[in-house]
């Protein structure tokens, strides 16, 4: 264990600048978690994107002769209670999770960012009302809000994707993103260069487009990444509760639902692999998000 405040080394000085490592080595050294997260995500995106071509079986193909088979060469991750190939279902489930997660996060963050920026910039009664409204939304736990939305909106299937489900997951993100965008905007607004723009006669919309939006792009990307993991977890939870993605669409949450737990007593792999898949994706997104935060806003995250 090193000292809390490691003292400098007394002794010989560097005669020349020590050789710099190549940029990519520096990147790995500085953000090992982020790089790992990114790599894992790339693999997962490719694998689930190409599920149609690389999945060994049809994810819906039942085989009652071979239910709850242990992992083997034929079925790398084993089979479920209907004899469906788990690997194929995990791959297709990834497609669902990533699609819903990424789209919900982008929809929610974008609406939130726009609301946050305008409310902070325009101010006045608009800000006051929106502020109150967002505060109220924030007082309702995300998962509860998503459940309420699911309860009221029903289903709306477009190309096999429940669009209302995406909305139900996206909407709770809005106030969270709006709050962040608002505080960022307020900080930037206080910068002298925004004052300067006003004295130069720039209109509000031009100041937003010219000064504020580019400075919020960094936090926005970080938050989208963070919210993707949140959205994936909520999708999994909702599906587990039977209120999210419905069969026959493959979903990791759905694979854990129903009597999966009882079957797991004899065939633990049917719950282990979907859970590991969720964890791996969310893990990678969080690590990537953390690294992005460090890169975009080294002050806010401190350390390094």
């Amino acid at each position: 264990m090193r000292n809390v405040f490691p003292p400098p080394s007394h002794g010989p000085l560097w005669a020349n600048e020590p050789k710099r490592l190549p940029n990519w080595v520096e990147l790995i050294r500085n953000y090992p978690f982020g790089v790992v997260g990114l790599l894992v995500l790339v693999i997962i995106f490719v694998a689930s994107g190409l599920a149609h071509w690389i999945a060994p079986y049809d994810p819906l193909e039942t085989n009652y002769a071979n239910t709850l088979a242990a992992p083997s060469l034929q079925h790398w991750l084993g089979t479920d209670t209907f004899g469906r190939d788990l690997l194929s279902r995990v791959l297709y489930g990834g497609r669902t999770a990533l699609f819903i997660g990424v789209s919900a996060s982008i929809i929610g963050s974008t609406i939130g960012a726009m609301l946050g920026i305008t409310s902070a910039y325009i101010g006045g009664w608009f800000e006051l009302i929106l502020e109150r409204f967002l505060e109220v939304l924030l007082a309702i736990p995300t998962m509860i809000l998503a459940l309420v939305l699911v309860a009221t909106m029903g289903r709306n299937l477009v190309f096999g994707i429940d669009f209302n489900l995406v909305l139900a997951i996206a909407l709770p993100i809005v106030p969270n993103m709006a709050r962040i965008a608002r505080s960022q905007t307020l900080t930037i607004r206080r910068q002298a260069y925004v004052d300067a723009a006003r004295t130069l006669g720039f209109s509000s919309s031009r100041i937003i487009a010219w000064h504020i939006a580019p400075n919020i792009a960094g936090p926005y990307i970080v938050m989208v990444t963070t919210f993707v993991s949140q959205a994936i977890l909520i999708e999994a939870s909702l599906s587990y509760l039977g209120l999210g993605v419905t069969a026959p669409t493959a979903s990791w949450g759905l694979m854990l639902a129903g009597n999966a737990f009882n079957s797991a007593l004899t065939a633990p792999w049917i719950v282990i692999f979907p859970g590991v898949a969720i964890a791996l994706v969310v893990f990678s997104f969080s690590m990537l998000g953390d690294a992005l935060r460090d890169i975009f806003d080294p002050k806010a995250s401190a350390g390094r």
Partner: protein, 709 residues
Amino acid sequence: MLPLPNFVRKDRLASRHSALPTRWRQRVHELLGSINDSENPGNPMAEKQIEGDVLLSVRDLHVQFLTGAGLIHAVRGVSYDVWAGEIVALVGESGCGKSVSSLALMGLLHGGDATRISGAASLKGMDYFGLSEEQMRRLRGREIAMVFQEPMTALNPVLTIGIQIMEPMLAHLGYSREKAWNRAVELLTLVGVPDPERRLGLYPHQFSGGMRQRVMIAIALACNPSVIIADEPTTALDVTIQAQILDLLQDLVDELKIGLVLITHNLGLVARYADRVNVMYAGRIVEAGTTSQVLRHPRHQYTAGLLKAVPQLDMPRQELLETIPGQPPSLRALPEGCAFRPRCSAASDKCLEIPALTRSTQDHSDACFHPFKDNGVYPAAGTPEPIKPAISKEALLTVSGLTKHFYLGRGATVRAVENVSFSVPTGGTLGLVGESGCGKTTLARLLLRLEQATAGTFELDGDDLLFKRGQRLKDMRRKIQVVYQDPFTSLNPRHKVADALVEPLLVHKLRKNRREARERVEEALSLVGLPSEMGDRYPHQMSGGQRQRVGIARALVMEPDFIICDEPVSALDVSIQAQIMNLLVELQKKLGLTYLFIAHDLAVVRHISDIVAVMYLGRVVESGRRQELFAEPRHPYTQALLAAVPSFRGLKGEGLSRGPLQGEIPSPLNPPSGCVFHTRCPLATDECRTAVPESRSLTETHKVACVRA
């Protein structure tokens, strides 16, 4: 380990260190073995035998940092000594290594192997650089203490002042809590905090900036250290408070025979308070000696240039300041040889070697191959400036009765600007001067229409501007432009310079297309002395001075009539300040601009202004032509401000009065009744407590708001 200086005599060492814990004596004796009498590199001044005790001596100190951007050699061989009962100044511009070297001496640098230190430092004769972190810790706060720049953040917000003062005593001296408490009461009394018993139970946020700095000094004094390092102790404070704090430090040094290292960028402070001075440039000491020698007979070209570049209240005012060209070098890419060579007018091929610090007289040494030669005393004593006829009589901007109140709810009102009237003649400069919270920045924001005034009017060229909206507001904005204080925040880091300047031209349709706008921008850039290729840089690729030039160019592209300069030089290094001020003066002549120049530095205001207005707590207390106001200040506040500004008027020990103004600036939230200044005014009578003084004219141009003036 580097050798200790030869004035350290082995026999004196042990006795001096009887004050140290017993387990330390062992260490001292080990160290004795390593001392030899060989010649030392570095500061020959330091080798001189002087009566009294040498408390701190530094030999050939180097500090390097390995950062993501490369290797930074921040301190490159610094040597100096501090004797008991004296103030030694380390003076230099930002990045010259003055702070880093002190942190290294305190053992406060960290960073493991990414930070490297070499050299030697001894405290009361004992080399302490070889000590372990734990042993070093036992020295800190006990033998060598430090006072930092920012009193607002240097104290822990969640602990009482009492605990924070007692901590070093509990840690080092083994005092009981009661004994430490009593000593803390003593210390607060010593540093001039009234009602110490009660104050010890308070938290930092309940103290003003000046009081916090006193508390910091009490903490530093707690264990009776032999050396205190004060790192820009008054930079964050107002000029009247600055004088109080430094007077206090001066008294403590005299009484307690402490050695004080005063780190500062302010040559005026050096003149007034330091016994000896070390001038630093790019990590090295370039000149060292007694204050009178160095300031009156500078030898290094850099010191001489610096002295000429700083406007001083007691020197004759010149139209333009003499400047040092260029900018301080980057520590990552130092020029070969003398680091000052690229900016030096006297430089020759000889300067490609690094000059050593050599003694020229008994108490003066410098590191320059071509020392500055002056004839006699430099700077020359000032002669009073003749009162010239006023410039244009026509006022471009007329402000009358301007008032801004901020309503905070629950009936609390901040009277930021109260009934302010003045006018600025066409082509002239009005200097607005005052301490923090006096409302000068709010005033600027009102004129820029970034805030809406509560009452009053202001007219530009006879055109009332206060209630303009829409397109007419936009037209007005073109005519009034602004240059901000901080060139780091006033440019958007994400836009290239040229883009940032082209955009407003297009917004105002002053140029038809981007190409024509770009031509205009290049014109403006060349006006402020920047080559056109600078347009393709981002702000972070430029130095502070260059950025400030861009800020000025941004104002100029709009072809304004009137420019508000809000502390335009206070964030810049001393040698850059002069360049920017000269630029502003030249532009005014060339383009016929009118300026409102806001600053807290009286000397800067005197240099640049035709008319000066002094503000205190939202009011203009005195205004007049420069010549009148500086020659014959009438308001007691103006007089006090002028007296508080340290300058070369008199060096330390030349019979100068101390900072005359006591007390702190009241809060504008709850300003005193009557004359707002009466709480600090030496002339105040009962009348001042009740009646708000009217502004009355002394001459055609000189006005003062004081019944006693």
